[in-house]
Amino acid sequence: MKITDLIDINCIQLELSSTTKSEVIDELASMLAAENYVTEKVGFINSIMERENHSTTGIGSGIAIPHAKCDYVIKTTIAFGLSKEGIEFESLDDEKAHLFFMIAAKSDAEDEHLKILSYLARKLIDDDFREKVLNVSDKTKLFKLLEEIGGDE
């Protein structure tokens, strides 16, 4: 299994229109709801915000990974968004976030899925990888890049 198995091409937005944290969370969650990966958008967003209120998932270096593991999730999925302009996300380094990986995990997510998510998290620390993702121009290229993420840990 690969990380790309958890990404739906319809849940990718390479040109996010949002300009604030709450907007971008809504924009990403809306894609997941539209494709029926989450049952109730509002409930799911509340779970996401609960995590954000605990501590921001804007981890710095332009990356944010809002995530929730809850009953509103039908199938563990990742929504991806890119903002060239950047969005204020209360990041650890006070810089704007450009890359958004929204992780929707089922309450009883399979270990295999959780493992893959952990590879993604680790990979996002890699500067080269991050730089490449920031510069993707289309969804196919993005998929190619994400396919690099494997169980090499």
């Binding site: 605990h54 501590s55 998932t57 710095g60 929730a68 593991k69 959780l114």
Partner: protein, 109 residues
């Protein structure tokens, strides 16, 4: 087997992202200064890379970067720092440097 100079434990509430990013950051920060760092992750998959008693005994210092409870009793008598998981993501280099300089207090609870 080469010993690990510094050990880490990471954990976060959801256990699907920060736990692993913090672990990766600490390992990377160690690599930069040429030391071996082993990090135990307490994530949603459960505990991985569990620290062995012998590794704890041999390590110079322990970094616990966790927002949830982790097993601490095993670290009694070791130089240790407890920080939020985000601190390890943001300031891993600094934490490793402090660990190597022996700046942590001895854990004695």
């Amino acid at each position: 087997m080469a010993k690990f100079e510094i050990l880490g434990v990471t954990a976060c509430p959801t256990g699907i992202a920060h736990t692993y990013m913090a672990a990766e950051k600490l390992k990377k920060a160690g690599k930069k200064v040429g030391i071996k760092v082993k990090v135990e992750t307490n994530g949603s998959i459960g505990v991985e890379n569990k620290l062995k008693d012998s590794e704890i005994a041999e390590a110079k210092a322990i970094i616990v970067a966790a927002d949830t409870k982790v097993d601490m009793a095993r670290f009694k008598g070791k130089q240790l720092i407890e920080v939020p998981v985000s601190k390890a993501i943001k300031s891993a280099d600094e934490l490793i440097e402090q660990a190597l300089n022996g700046e942590f207090k001895v854990y004695n609870k």
